[in-house]
Symmetry: none
Subunit: 197 residues, 4 copies
DNA sequence: AATGAATGAGCATTCATTCAT
DNA sequence: GATGAATGAATGCTCATTCAT
């Protein structure tokens, strides 16, 4: 009688090990040895559960995307009108309130840079960015005069969020505490006249 | 008569080789061999002119900072009032008009991610970011009610610029052509009521 | 009543998996995983039935020897005189007619090369070669003037057969179809004057 | 002023290290470490002079082919008629007299088996076998009734030589000393009636 | 100044073997 | 009997760095 499969659990542990290691040591420093150690596993096991290190990275992209989606949903649940929905989206992306996750932010920045090198990672990252932009655009639409305005606003908002991630990862003290979300709203207001009261 | 030292010239060639290689292959892919090849030099020469690969990276950070400074100055030369100076700063950062340099933008994103790993690089990158933020803050001051508002605006503007860099490097099609600078101005306007006419 | 042991059956399945895998992927490519997969079994099972991968290889040598023996016997059953018995031996070795087995031939060549590395395999392979040579020598004796002539002829015939195996495995098109057995007979005729009518 | 290039010399040393290691340890046992050690070099150097281990193997195939060609030429220089040329070819292939090289023979057998796995090696090995067969066929032609007879004889002779290599590598005692060349001639005589006086 | 051969540590990955279930 | 997760040593290969020339 075989042992019950724990593959899913192990895969998650490995991805979390990758997350921690990336945040601490960057992609170069994320050797399989270190990832395994961070996950409390032996190096050989990573390749038993994943075909390659890149697969682990792709799984991490999915994990980070899923976490972002969940955070956004949580914030939007409380929103009562179009404007609040957009603000909730921004709050979720910028991790306002409890649940901020500096490791995830840093890892995302590292993954983003790695995308420049590896086409598969690039595709995955672009897919996530595109999904954020799409959702953002949908939320901008009701507040915009037309589609082009909404698209521009969505692009700017996602870029701003991305920039906050980088600043948080590289120079955490550069953004005055608690100012990211208000700034994001100001950006939205500036780009979507209809968003103003 | 000894042959004149060409050290400075060689150093620049090497740094430019690093720039090209980083933009194309990321940091992992930027082996000394590849950098040397991109610079049209031999591998041994890099370590004749630089103590380590990291030193080349630090020199690249300086080069990119210098280029940004020059671009900003060029744009500000035409500015006639406080508001235009701030806009010129943003235009320069976002490389509006001729002189856009995708390689430099991509290399900067890579360097930024590498900063997560190497403390010395982090220090250099943070210094550059801080200088941008300082200049930005000075330009915001005349349009802001007080120092805190200016600081917040400056932080937001730099973050937005950073985010545009990342988007340009990773998902070049995500930002509607020509929309970055107007969006940046909208952000400034949103954060600095005095900036509006 | 305990469930009946199927060890022998399983062992054979594993050996056949090894045979197929060796023929397709060589010895390097014959990982336990692949062998198990080729046999439709799980990796762990191989080491339940065999102490080591080498043991599987040794069992394969036996299987190939047994198959050769059976083929020779089948051919010799129709032989009516000394000369025909020798020819039947050669036909059997060279797999004349139906029952040619390219996989077995290829696997034999791989096993043969592996013998260079592993003393135990070398011993097993040499034992098989010696048995072929012994049988061949016995069949040459009646046609030879003396023992030495028979021994030389036997050695030459086995070498020729071996050579045909290698050619069949490595360069299948190099031997004109149907020419191996006649050539072997010509070799026998050339070495054993008494073999000629 | 750079050091004078010693690449050709180093490449040869590495190939000879591969030759020695293959003969002793087979292909599996021929790790880059062991090859380097056998050549008196450090492991990293192998990949400085060769793109991959396979390239070393391909260079070895060329070396072995060149050695065989030289041996054949040496023997043929003394031949005085068609029959003697064919015999000289066989003597050269079977390394009659001084200059026998057991390591090369064993390495060739290993390379041959490796050809089953690696297409590039297979192509190189087949090219060498084909060149032997072509030369052999040309030498058989004058002694044969027609082209087909010559082709069959050539194939058989090359197969016999191949078989002798395997026997020499795997079971060195199986071939009575000094009997290989005479047996080869007997094979030629049996297949090419015109070869007989 | 410049070269490119040389070094050796480190990398991702593979694999025979073990073993709890 | 059978499973497949787990192990850890070994592999081919890369690379920053050194250095004789």
């Amino acid at each position: 009688m075989p042992r019950p499969s724990n593959t899913d659990h192990r895969r998650e542990e490995i991805v979390l090990g990758m997350l921690r290691t990336l945040a601490e040591h960057g992609y170069d420093g994320a050797s399989t040895q270190r990832i395994a150690h961070a996950a409390g596993l032996t190096p050989g096991l990573i390749h038993y559960h994943f075909a390659s290190k890149q697969e682990v990275l792709l799984a991490l992209v999915e994990l980070l995307a899923r976490r972002a989606r969940e955070r956004i949903e949580k914030h939007r649940r409380r929103a009562k009108n179009d404007r609040e929905h957009l603000h909730a989206f921004l709050d979720g992306m910028l991790q306002v309130g409890a649940g901020a996750d500096p490791q995830a932010v840093t890892a995302w920045v590292v993954v983003t840079a790695e995308a420049i090198r590896e086409p598969k990672v690039a595709r995955a990252v672009r897919a996530v960015l595109a999904s954020w932009q799409r959702e953002s655009e949908q939320l901008c639409m009701p507040l915009a005069k037309d589609r082009r305005v909404a698209a521009k606003a969505a692009a700017a908002l996602v870029a701003f969020v991305q920039g906050c991630f980088v600043q948080a990862a590289v120079a955490p003290d550069s953004i005055p505490s608690g100012s990211a979300a208000p700034s994001a709203r100001a950006l939205a207001d500036g780009l979507l006249p209809g968003a103003r009261a």
